[in-house]
């Protein structure tokens, strides 16, 4: 196998980031990222489901006939989503109320079925686990970044309502630009999600282009020194 764990992690977090490059799972991504905490909540839930489903799919990959693999995968994913949904309802009822319909909708998140089909069903457990963790974390990071940006521009706070996830101790952990900050409501409304995601993708592409240019420059200077 030529792919190292390092490659898998790089792919998940950056080169094949499910949100910024594959553009998968956009429905929950766009819908819940109106605050950093919502993004974090959904990101963590997706990460859990992704890890559990990737590992299970990888374990059973040799026993499932290819003709029926997709229904089996969906069944596995749906069970884990139900488990995550019930536990969220039990332990984080407030957050569960906010995220609402988008928790069960993780079932239809293309990232998860995509990783199960494209990766976990062809690899052994360890690589599948690493793939799930890195892909899920990449998705989570985008959710939190987009959520934080929209929250900051829209209402001038960061990580407000963190106590919904981490208990009363976290209530004071938030940043605010002041009560008289007049945010751009549009950032919290749906158009803000599309504009924000577009700008994030643009930033990623700029960083990639810069890196490539640098690489090309290094290579050419190396050949130049070698030639001289």
């Amino acid at each position: 196998m030529t792919e190292t764990y390092r490659d898998i992690i790089n792919n998940g977090l950056w080169h094949n980031n499910q949100a910024l490059v594959a553009l998968l799972g956009l429905c929950p991504l766009l819908a819940v990222t109106n605050s950093a905490v919502n993004g974090l909540g959904l990101g963590l839930a997706t990460l859990m489901v992704l890890i559990a489903s990737n590992v299970s799919v990888s374990l059973i990959r040799n026993f499932v006939r290819p003709e029926i693999r997709l229904p089996v995968f969906v069944l596995i994913i749906a069970s884990f989503v139900t488990a995550v949904e019930l536990s969220m309802n039990a332990w984080f009822p407030e957050l569960y109320k906010i995220l609402g319909i988008f928790i069960p909708l993780i079932v239809t998140n293309c990232t998860i079925i995509g990783r199960a089909e494209a990766y976990a069903s062809k690899h052994s457990v360890m690589p599948a686990l690493v793939d799930a963790i890195s892909m899920g974390t990449g998705f989570l990071l985008v959710l939190v970044t987009l959520g934080a940006a929209r929250e900051l521009i829209g209402q001038g706070t960061l990580f407000a309502d963190l106590h919904l996830m981490f208990g009363e101790a976290a209530r004071s952990v938030y940043f605010s630009l002041g009560d008289d900050f007049e945010g751009a409501l549009i950032a919290i409304l749906p158009p803000g999600a599309f504009i924000g995601l577009g700008l994030l993708i643009a930033v990623k592409n700029i960083i990639d282009q810069r890196a490539e240019k640098k690489k090309a420059l290094n290579v050419s200077s190396e050949t130049a020194t070698a030639a001289s």
Binding site: E182, G183, L185, I186, L189, P191
Partner: protein
């Protein structure tokens, strides 16, 4: 002796974009003067702020894109966008909102799509909608027209309000601001009041709101100048005003107690500005003649629908943006037949002909 021969075109207009934009600016002057007359210095100050912000941000983007700055700045399209935005916003809007609007119009709506000629949406209207959706309370506090304004602000006071938000001593926002006639009309219609009852207020002139109807008249004058100079064609404005007129007449004839007189619709809000200066934007509007008729008529219909049943006081910006989205499709289906092409010539027929050959 040597004769220099060159290929066609042998005559050309240098920098036609700049010429067109100059004509548009010229045609806007009566409207700007009327707005300033009725609503105070704030209009002119907003125009200045918006122009500086728009031109500045366009220069910045051109620098970032490593493109020559001067040719783009001097085509005046950013100035036109800025002026149109400044005429749509309330005269005492805080300066930073005007700046955000102008920068959004140029950077996000125009330059990120590739600059002049590539933007699918009208930059001024997209920026107006951004401001309206994001800061509704600022964007709906208009001033009453001069003849109803009990506390007209002088130039320095206006400047202070726009840049610091501090009102002159003894005044508060409730005392100096007023709803727009459209806002007033539809808020009170929602409360089940009758037109006659609503029109008791001295806010109303002959057709629309006092002051507003004259502003619209001056925009109409500017628009006729653009038609005369052949900067715009008649299709979009006529279709837009016509469809609004037809629909509002139908409403009025059906139930005059709850539908304002048709002329009210046409001489209120941004209809004239929209019909002649905004919907006719050559970049984001339809280009085929038939398409322009459909496009304009749909904008007029949407204005009527949104005004009557929508949540926002004026509808021109939303209607224009919605039809901007539809414009490429309309153009696709209204492409004129190429000369020599027969009506029924389709692929199967040509294929058969090829077979016989």
């Amino acid at each position: 002796m040597k004769f220099v021969t060159s290929t066609s075109p042998h005559t050309f207009k240098p920098n036609s974009v700049q010429k067109v934009m100059l004509e548009v600016l010229l045609a806007l002057i009566p409207g700007i003067i009327a707005m300033t007359w009725y609503f105070g210095w704030g209009v002119l100050i907003n125009v200045c702020i918006a122009v500086i912000a728009a031109v500045g941000s366009e220069a910045l983007v051109m620098k970032l894109r490593n493109r020559p700055v001067m040719p783009v700045i001097s085509d005046l399209s950013a100035v036109v966008t800025a002026v149109l935005l400044a005429l749509a916003i309330p005269p005492l809007l805080p300066w930073w909102l005007t700046v955000i609007g102008a920068v959004f119009a140029i950077v996000i709506v125009k330059q990120l799509y590739g600059g002049l000629g590539y933007n699918p949406f009208n930059p001024a209207m997209a920026a107006y909608v951004l401001l309206l959706v994001s800061w509704p309370s600022h964007m709906t506090s208009w001033l009453p027209p001069i003849m109803l304004n009990e506390h007209p602000l002088d130039f320095i006071q206006t400047l202070t309000v726009i840049f610091t938000g501090a009102l002159p001593a003894g005044l508060d926002w409730d005392a100096i601001s007023s709803a727009t006639p459209l806002d007033e009309m539809f808020t009170r219609l929602d409360l089940n009041q009758m037109i006659e009852e609503i029109r008791q207020s001295q806010l109303w002139g002959d057709f629309g709101g006092r002051g507003w109807e004259w502003v619209n008249n001056w925009y109409l004058l500017g628009g006729l100048y653009l038609l005369y100079r052949k900067v715009i064609s008649w299709h979009i404005p006529v279709a837009m005003i016509g469809s609004l007129l037809v629909l509002s007449s139908m409403g009025y004839l059906a139930d005059p107690a709850t539908h304002p007189f048709p002329a009210f619709h046409i001489f209120s809000g941004g209809v004239m500005l929209g019909a002649f200066f905004i919907a006719t934007d050559p970049v984001s509007a339809c280009t085929t003649k038939k398409g322009q008729l459909i496009y304009g008529a749909s904008i007029g219909a949407l204005v009527f629908v949104i005004r009557n049943w929508g949540g926002y006081p004026d509808a021109v910006a939303f209607a224009v943006l919605l039809m901007n989205m539809a414009a490429p499709t309309i153009d696709y289906y209204t492409q004129p037949r190429v000369f020599g092409e027969t009506q029924k010539a389709d692929l199967t027929e040509t294929a058969e002909r090829d077979k016989h050959d």
